[in-house]
Symmetry: D3
Subunit: 242 residues, 6 copies
């Protein structure tokens, strides 16, 4: 089984870290392919960059010329998953949904700890659209930007632990979701520090993608995610025309 | 005052019809500029095309080299408004929100009549995100594609009237919103046929945009829609780099 | 175009201030007529007074013997708007709805800062009924009574700014609505102090009322707001009999 | 114990029927006093009349010069209960709430069958404000006006039974609430015809009012329903000044 | 009229205290019978014990060999009420629902003060299922276990008062519900200390059970709470076979 | 890895069918152990039987004397999962949640098709408590009892397909969940007949349980599902005392 794990930003080192993390939890026989978009921002921390990433992820996946069995969109709280679901016949798993969905099997309420405060409303909105919001106790910002996370892992760890503890004591979360693809790999340390289960969306998504493939299930094509109708597509986007 | 009215598809004739409709209701002294994206699909009827349009609209607006006072995104239920709000300092009005917001002043509940059934969930989701869903009685599909609307206005009218009547009698709507930018201009006929107020998002958006400008109000930059942080943007999207 | 702006209390000086504020933002050609109810309390700060105001406002409007194009009910969070909508064929705009509806075009969430704590639940309930509650971050009380606002503007300003700042930092509001008709005119100062858009319901209502008239839209008469059925009305209320 | 049961319309025969129905279920030692407002419409079927009734009920109760232990507002889905709660220190029970609250002890979901379709949104809104909406399967209109109910009891019975049956089979209601004070006394027949429990708000309210008195409980005065602040009240409403 | 009041734990002294409290508020002619389950835990403070209690309460009631008119389940936030409703034809009143339902007649919002923090989510969930959650301001834990409540009434009182005061000042509750059957009898003292109405579920349930019997109302058998279908029941549970 | 799959009824043949279905999808190296409760009803179709099953499942699992890595509760919409989560340190997966959670990765909305109409509210309530209700389009009953399903598979298939088709066309479901443990194995046929993805809770639960174990995640013990406090447990239930 081959699973594409697509980063939403153009920072190659983050793609590699995500892919490593994904491969570590993949079943024997599952090949993880990390993909970096051909265009977009080096970190995604807001709507403009997220919309850009939505198209960049679709573009990157459609340009991949080998067969694959599932796609993981490895950005937390980003736009675009629905577009991928229309374009593809294989399952698409967003790490936002994967983490929340997994957390709900582990506790009565979960919180998300993410990067900058400005991304909190995006995450909240995506969870609402995915129908996974009801048991969300809070979305909290560590205050660190995506690339700071990448460059200062120890400071990131402390900032995330601090918010995770507030989530547990004040917001009554019983599980913590790591709210950034770039946090992959920190889960074990945060779990030890906080005493509650910590879910990393990337590894959770790998097991869910594998499960869907194993169960022979994929996106319903009956309505919302039906294959796009034939269109005349012009300009730069012509590459999407088929 | 200059207001940019941006079509979400690349069909120039639809842009012109929307702009005409907008100009007809604009105040003396307001100049309406209709813009067509440089890339994308000739009609937008699903998530893939809508995400493409999100970026295409941002691209088109950012490429406009004259001053302007407000922007109207003239697609019903489409992605992207939040990105524009980040990129711009002037007010941004989406016709989805404009129609719903206006309808809520006119009746206890409103329905939207749109084009194809597959777009219904997109519209529902956008209304939920905008916080304008509570008084929505239903979103109904006429079954006509965007370009059929353009080419067969009479058949479109009948199909819309039929769904509008069902919305009133079965779903208890008291106001109808026209759920497609391409329906601009049909409101008066549908109002006569159904006996309830009919709101066209394009004209509603013009009055709202003018009102915001007149009141000296624009997008809050304090959190969700703060100006994007400086990023390294590569590839095709480099044109967004500043 | 003539718009009636009806105060909910019987304090004439507040009526005048509201009318001045409304006229200042009205289009050329729009005449604002400020009306004070013939009966009721000198300030409205609770359900009893608000219900009294509901009838007093209807009574005052029905007694107005000149033609008019729209009515603005200039009390924040008060009862009665639905009754006016039944009695009239022209649009009715409540400043509670006008402010919230406008605020939602400007930010992801808004807060209301009002007068006394006891009025907070009334405002919350009215926003819920109007379907404009979803994006409300909080309703906060400045602790000042309506007439204190009138008599001690500087103290009022400080108290409102303090709560507005808490709304932004703690409740994550991105826009502030002024939750009292008597606060008209303070918006600009509060905006400067807080750095977020501040919406005054009276001026917002003027632009919305003008917009509805311009669009040829008025209250749906198909169900909830249908003209009252012929009734035998006795006692003091006979003046409403037609 | 003396309980005032206040009709919302000015039709004396309805007041008497309601009072009879209330007395029939009252405990030994409970005196029911039926009151008819001094002003207002002979039947209440919409917002204008309901707002008028809100004040008329408060006026009638405040004019009652004997001691009393509780007040029942005997109109279904009407405005005004909150005002009474402010003005009085004894418990106030609205029959809308009484019926819904009682029905929720009897089944998983309940429906209301009321008079005219135009009153359905009022009832829905009142149930929402009272926090009793979650288990409401539907509010259905029999199509009969209040006075038709009074004059054509057999036709009324059939129309109510028909809607009650639809509520059970289509909307999955397990209990029916009679949605009009004037339906008092029909509960037993409708129960026999439909096979589900039928709750009449008037009799339910009597037992709830008695219970509150017996438990020594009354309206909280700490915030929303605090006694009105001293105000200068002018004009016709001066009678409310104390 | 005979009402069974069933404790959810096996501590006989708590059963007696509950029964005394119930009898004190019962009408003349109402006999209260306190029942202790034949099996289960000496206090119920979590899901395992609560599920055990659910069956133990059903078992105890089914073993009672005298006629009775209503059953009160005297545990706050416990499982099982729906099972009793299926098994019995007489009304079943859970004290969780009784307290919340009563509180909603007394104020705009209510809070529950219970025992241990771990039981808070159970209470919240039960209130949600009962449709009585909308007006709940908060569920707060006093930090005392059920048996500490029993053995250290003064310390319990202080801890409950402290949380009740926070509920009023911070969560904006206007009424307090005592969130444990074992708190019966403390209501009057807490009311004096906090200045807001305090509802004890046990006494509230007695008046509601009496009211339902008096009104001739009982559980709807049409769907959710229909009598269980004939089943082959084996093992220990055979005693439930009929 | 050893996963216990516990039937909720005492019909051994159903346990075996469920276990076979689970084993068929389990990874190499995963041992599925099917367990039948020692007591309870031969089929579970309502609250009484479901509460009995809750305890019976806990009892059966606690009596199992070999090590195990996860537990699957194989009843759809049944009580009890929270108790198991308290008693165990390994992950607990309910098939109701497993199916819904999986379905949400496949389409915009899902429906459940279950057995008898009387069980529909139980399933709805469990989905609400699990926070998986938002994207549920409907829960529909096939009208067949659990044991009819067992004995008349072809008739069951037809009845389920019929409701699944209505769910898709009328309720706008895009995915179908099989709402009974005894439907395991029918998914492929129903998928072929309806053209939409069909999720069987048992097989979905196996992949989720395996995933949680693989990720090293288990139930949070910080609050709701903390290990039960030491209690004195008497009577039949003494077997739970430790």
């Amino acid at each position: 089984m081959r699973i594409l794990v697509v980063n939403v930003n153009t920072t190659e080192s983050i793609t590699q870290a995500i892919a490593r993390s994904a491969q570590a939890v993949a079943s024997a026989g599952t090949e993880i392919v990390g993909l970096t978009p051909f265009f977009g921002a080096d970190s995604v921390e807001g709507n403009f960059e997220s919309y850009l990433a939505a198209i960049a992820v679709m573009d990157r996946v459609m340009s991949y010329d080998q067969p694959f069995d599932a796609v993981i969109q490895a950005g937390y709280g980003e736009h675009g998953r629905e577009g991928l679901q229309e374009l593809l016949n294989v399952p698409v798993v967003d790490i936002t949904d994967a983490a929340a969905s997994t957390a709900m099997f582990l506790g009565h309420a979960y919180s998300v700890v993410t990067t900058l405060d400005r991304t909190v409303p995006l995450i909240e909105d995506r969870l609402k659209l995915s129908g996974l919001w009801d048991r969300c106790a809070s979305v909290r910002a560590s205050g660190l930007a995506v690339l700071e996370l990448e460059h200062e892992p120890q400071r990131a760890l402390e900032a995330i632990v601090q918010q995770a503890e507030l989530a547990v004591t004040q917001d009554k979360a019983e599980v913590i979701c790591l709210g950034c693809g770039g946090m992959a790999g920190l889960d074990e340390q945060i779990r030890r520090r906080t005493g509650v289960p910590v879910v990393d969306g990337v590894t959770a998504a790998v097991t869910i993608a594998e499960s869907l493939v194993r169960l022979g299930l994929s996106t319903s094509k009956v309505r919302t995610y039906a294959t796009p109708r034939p269109k005349q597509i012009i300009g730069w986007a012509e590459r999407f025309a088929r």
